[in-house]
């Protein structure tokens, strides 16, 4: 009879198509998984890069801190010694104009503090203190709790540590084969279409899995672009450090050019004025709360103001 023959052929054809769809589904799931894994690798590389940039920035802060400490221990110390010499004699009005008694005390404390910062930075517990000193200036005393972790937030828009959930494509068995397979006992024609249906079902899931993989990849690419911006901002922070070093350096030179410990010298008042400006410039924060680059509030709470 021709009809059953044809129908038999259709059934076998349907079975073959179904089997092929099942195989395609399996490879589509693998494709989705590979896409997700590739995106994950890309993201990890970007995170690694931004962390490296953070380390470089921290090194710049430390170097800046050492530069400022050097000035404290040489130029500012010389200034304070001269002030104390003449303040006691109360012979110079210009000293009182430029520096109050409280200010002189505070500066002396800052000089001592700068020594402590250097020695404490040698221990890992206070490893972040020098970096924070470079970032925040001399306005506050930094708790030993200021660690590299705190510094990691300084760049504000720095890379997120957000982990992106990756949709794990289920195995083909979970996709539907297991359930449908249980009903496979009827005639060849039914088995054929049943197999095709299972294959289509599996393919539909793989399609969605691939879409989810594309979505994940897209999110990763967006985050990587944000990371690139964060890195650029860190480069600009380095520019700001260089700018302050330039200004402080110029003031330091002019202070040394005009230094005298003779209150009768014509440069004495000029030296005091420059010294005051030099001291004020050392107090300038690279990451200032007014020009806030979203400084983590936890860091601020770790800064204790000097008590005069």
């Amino acid at each position: 009879m021709p009809i059953p023959f044809i129908l038999g052929g259709i059934a076998i054809g349907a079975a073959i198509v179904g089997a092929k769809k099942g195989v395609d589904a399996k490879s589509d799931f693998s494709l989705a998984k590979r896409k997700g894994e590739k995106a994950q690798d890309k993201f990890k590389k970007a995170q690694k890069k931004v962390n490296k940039e953070r380390e470089v920035l921290n090194d710049h802060f430390k170097e800046f801190a050492r530069y400022k400490i050097d000035i404290f221990q040489i130029e500012i110390k010389s200034l304070i010694d001269v002030i104390k010499k003449f303040k006691d004699s109360k012979s110079t009005a210009s000293i009182e104009q430029n520096f109050s008694e409280e200010e002189v005390k505070q500066i002396s404390k800052n000089i001592d503090h700068s020594v402590n910062i250097v020695s404490s930075s040698l221990s890992s517990a206070s490893a972040g203190a020098l970096t924070a000193f470079g970032a925040y200036g001399t306005a506050g005393v930094l708790a030993t709790a200021s660690t590299g972790t705190a510094i990691s937030s300084l760049s504000g828009v720095a890379a997120t540590n957000a982990t992106l959930a990756w949709f794990g494509g289920g195995s083909l068995a979970a996709g539907g084969f297991g359930m449908a397979g249980g009903t496979l006992v009827l005639g060849g024609l039914v088995a054929g279409p049943a197999l095709a249906v299972m294959g289509f079902m599996a393919a539909a899931s793989a399609d969605k899995a691939y879409t989810d993989a594309c979505k994940y990849e897209s999110k990763v690419d967006e985050e990587i672009e944000k990371i690139k911006v964060a890195i650029e901002i860190m480069h600009q922070i380095k520019e700001r450090i260089e700018e302050l070093k330039y200004v402080i350096g110029q003031l330091r030179n002019k202070f040394n050019e005009n230094f005298t410990d003779d209150n009768k010298d014509k440069h004495f008042d000029t030296m005091l004025a420059i010294g005051k400006s030099l001291k004020r410039s050392l107090e300038i924060s690279v990451l200032d709360k007014d020009g806030d680059l979203k400084i983590n509030e936890n860091i601020k709470s770790e800064i204790i103001e000097l008590e005069v």
Binding site: A191, M201, E225, S277, D288, G291
Partner: protein, 135 residues
Amino acid sequence: MNKAIIKKAGKIKPSPTMIIDGLKAVVEAHKSLKVTAEEEKTKRSQIKADKEVFIKKIHAQKEVMLFALDKSFKERHLNFENMFEKLDQAINSDKVELASHILGSIVDLAKDTPFRDIQRTISDFHNENVNMIEI
């Protein structure tokens, strides 16, 4: 496994109703697959388009920020150079009061961070509601 099932099933004689129902199921499943495939294709196109828009926006904002900062740093450096020149002139002329005044201006400019001006630009990068940035 598929070959074993086909071989085993081939030995059983199906009824016409079973055949028709089976074929109907194949057609329905195939239709459903096609619809899903089209839907997912559309979704993926949208995902790609959205990503491209976002990245273009980030690039544009980044360029604006870098341009503004570069300009700011250059202008500031020129201002500092001019002020230090004037300071030297004041010191050499023994004009202490003028020198003090210039020193004050130097420190005030140094305190005034260039990031203040572009702070809004930076925070806008993370504000999904912002589509335009002004400088």
